[in-house]
């Protein structure tokens, strides 16, 4: 891009790249916009941080959006801004899709299950759908910023939290450890092993003298090795026997003893961590204050008028110049037909399978191409935040190998409050299927029995009330998220991405961020750009 264009656009100092692009479009139209984006290696199709910048208008054109989840509402919000008439069809009486938060009064009826009415205290809640926003999900954060949804940190990585593996091989089985003990010791011993091997000269063929010195320096520092003999003998980062404090006693405190290297190795507890977290699980993470559904509500506030609630999609027909969708009002049972210039379908594939459509066989087969993950969660309201008061654990996850539990996650809000609601399990696949076969009461008992092993004398006695979900048993979802096999990604996914006739698909299932709100948002952004292109042609 020439400096001339640059200065024509700038004038006053631009604030963000996006502002710059908006100005580029104002000054030079979509041609300059696209040139600018290409110069930066951006492309409308890869927009991830902000909705596509679309020129022209959607005035007089109608887009029918199936599903008022985060994806559907994203499309409705952005298309409405462009002038499109949006009609959103939502089977539930509320918007948000999986972006739900259970608090007092929340009702959930699983297929073939009991009806649950949440009776948490006021202020207590559990995000039983999405519950955390990675710092790198710029799309989700775009809307929390635009809609001014207040955020707080979500503690996804608390080294002070426990790990409890009852089936760990060796003497660490059933031992409750702090995660920092495992990290410090495992890394310390491994650093010691490599350092001593280097020092011995055994690797002098592989490593230059200069690199050897640098490596020894690195390893000593990384693993808190003794300067004298390169041994690891523990470090304060694994906790103290007696914490340092005031005066002479405790004074400097009393150091703790490291676990035995052999025991640690045998236990395989080192697998609880990696060099760094995977990108998607990495700190820093955030959450809306008061519950994840604050995002859904913020969308709903803006596009609620376009939503027909309590209305089920019965059939979908792609006609030559329009799309025709038959819907049923669930209150009255009355069917009606809605037509539109285009349709964006955000219905989960697990549900879309059962809708009467005139898609081609190829497309219908592709819809079958993704598995939907059985996923279960349970929120347990505790009358006392014993994990903070007694154990000094402020948020994060307790890791366990207890089958069907996976983790116990401690709330990242209302610190030191009177009560707290923790996540009692987060299970997947076979374990989720198994646990979901239990009655609500049995699920609670299952969660309490497990938690009691890790927090004996605290867990069960603090419990007050629960709320659980098995997403694979929730109507209109039938699974936590789309799970694509390599084969499905290669064959079915591209077919679905192309859409058919006047229908395109969007949602987390149409992304590589399955199970995340960002997948739904970015997918919607992509597809509305394509709809706009089609309808502008």
């Amino acid at each position: 891009m020439s400096n001339q264009i640059n200065s024509a656009i700038y004038g006053s100092a631009p604030t963000t790249r996006r502002d710059f692009l908006a100005k580029a479009m104002a000054v030079g139209g979509s041609g300059l916009l696209l040139a600018s984006m290409k110069a930066w290696g951006m492309d409308i199709a890869s927009t991830q941080s902000a909705p596509p910048l679309l020129s022209g208008s959607g005035k007089g054109k109608t887009v029918l959006i199936l599903g008022a989840g985060i994806g559907g509402m994203t499309a409705a919000y952005e298309l409405s801004k462009l002038g499109y008439t949006c009609k959103v069809i939502e089977a539930r009486k509320f918007a948000g899709g999986r972006c739900q938060t259970a608090r007092t009064g929340t009702v959930l009826e699983e297929l073939g299950g009991e009806k649950q009415v949440c009776n948490f205290d006021k202020g207590q809640y559990i995000n039983f759908g999405p519950w955390r926003i990675p710092f790198n999900h710029r799309s989700t954060l775009h809307y929390t910023s635009e809609f001014e949804v207040p955020l707080e940190l979500f503690n996804n990585d608390n080294d002070a939290s426990y790990v409890y593996h009852e089936n760990a091989p060796g003497p660490l089985a059933g031992k409750r450890l702090r995660q920092y003990e495992v990290k410090a010791d495992m890394r310390g011993y491994v650093d010691e092993l490599l350092a001593k091997t280097l020092k011995s000269g055994m690797m002098d063929q592989q490593v230059t003298t200069k690199d050897k010195a640098l490596l020894l320096d690195y390893l000593s520092n990384e693993g808190y090795l003794s300067k004298k003999d390169l041994s690891y003998r523990g470090t304060n980062g694994r906790g103290y026997k007696v914490n340092p404090g005031a005066g002479m006693t405790p004074g400097a405190g009393v150091a703790s003893d490291p676990l035995a290297f052999g025991d640690l190795l045998q236990s395989k507890l080192g697998h609880i961590y990696h060099s760094v977290h995977e990108f998607i699980q990495q700190a820093t993470m955030l959450q809306p204050i008061g519950g994840m559904d604050q995002i859904a509500k913020a969308f709903e506030k803006r596009v609620g008028k376009t939503i027909r609630y309590n209305t089920e999609v019965m059939s979908l027909r792609n006609l030559a110049d329009k799309v025709e969708v038959q819907v049923k009002d669930l209150a009255s049972g009355k069917a009606s037909v809605i037509t539109a210039d285009f349709c964006l379908c955000t219905i989960p594939l697990s549900v879309l399978r059962h809708v009467d459509t005139d898609f081609s066989e190829k497309f219908k087969t592709a819809i079958q191409g993704a598995a939907y993950a059985p996923v279960g969660k349970i929120g347990l309201q505790m009358k006392r935040r014993f994990w903070e008061q007694d154990d000094g654990i402020y948020g994060g996850h307790v890791l366990t190998d207890i089958k069907g539990i996976n983790l116990i996650s401690l709330p990242s809000s209302n610190w030191q409050g009177k009560k707290g609601t923790l996540l009692g399990y987060y299970n997947f696949e076979a374990a989720a299927a198994e646990v979901s076969a239990l009655s609500q009461l049995e699920r609670v008992e299952f969660a309490l029995s497990a938690g009691e092993k890790i927090f004996p004398g605290q867990y069960r006695s603090s419990f007050e009330t629960a709320f659980s979900v098995a997403w694979h048993r929730v109507k209109y979802n039938l699974g936590g998220w789309a799970h694509w096999s390599d084969e499905g990604r290669a064959n079915a996914y591209p077919v679905l991405f192309e859409g058919e006739g006047r229908t395109l698909l969007a949602g987390e299932h149409m992304s590589h961020l399955t199970g995340w709100q960002a997948g739904a948002i970015e997918s919607a952004w992509q597809q509305i750009a394509r709809i706009h292109q089609r309808l502008s042609a």
Copy 2:
């Protein structure tokens, strides 16, 4: 402890160990209390989580407390509860000591320096004294809980934040990297090196066949090594070239390339992290919402009536049956004498040195035994949170080797707000002394020049207004915190701990948690137990 006593005390289920102790005291007096504490390995002198449980009453006795910092107010609060008459002398017009937060209107005059009046926008602030609470500082957290000071997480460890070493040896000099790049690559390569050495059989003398298999498994998992050849070739946790997203483009995203092992080693950037953080720096950390001084204000609300503000201590005399302190009202200039049964002096040693006392020569020499740390901080109000908007960094520290900067810390509050106030430097010792010699304007320029290297085009243009402190130049502090040499700890510290006559010392300097509020609180807890013992005898 017998079950009989147990059941006598319990009745209804006890909630915490502390509740149990309180009941023990109610039922069996201090004898049972002490027996119970000993049974649990606790001791009044080592109380760290809660104030000492003291029996009896302080009615009719007066304790004079010098200094209304966190330590002094802790003592006043707890002693008043016991019935003591507390008189607190404070030189400043406000309480809190170093626990201060700069916001609009805050005035700071350094010795020999200009007068600063903070003109941050409403809602913007910088904690220029203590700024974070480790999860293991149970004493500080005891009061945030008791006083219901709302807390939020403080992001002390953000792998997504930058590291920028302009003096790093080799090609990484002056390269801005994400901390997760350094961690993932450095650990990945080191894991690879050890794994391949193990695999080669070179270490078969040192490591058993079984341990070798376990180690290879651990290393592959820890460092994301290739299952095929144990090589490290990068991992998504070090970030992508193009993040994964929706549809076909970006779809799965584009992986990033690891840095070269040799370059990393040479740069010594691996020193930015350890196996685990030191205990005191470990996640999880917290901060009061709205500024650290919320803790000071919560204390002040409860003990403010006992404080004589704007009053300087002129002299201290230990008499046979009382302590006599001459003070000067700074408004009127009028001197007066206060007597009390006992004195708790929380004045920093750096200041106490200059007070006229009748301490023995030995005690006076001990007072000289601690060095006080030069420490500087600067808060920079930015009109735009570019680190969030442009760089996706939500809190944490930017690490740099730029002399006198040390770190740039990004705020852990008001996420996605319009403006933000970051910590522009945090310097110590010689560097702090050097920077503090600059004028306020020069300090700002120094901080901006450094920040601009790391956030080019963003830092300087976003800057609005600053507030800086050099604690060694602040009257009534003369340093950030006490720094004890090994010799000082061995010789001077025990002398000071014993006190002299009817005077005991408290404060962060009388702890092994120097520079932390917990040190002041726990020190106060210890010394009031001793005062109570002395006055009850």
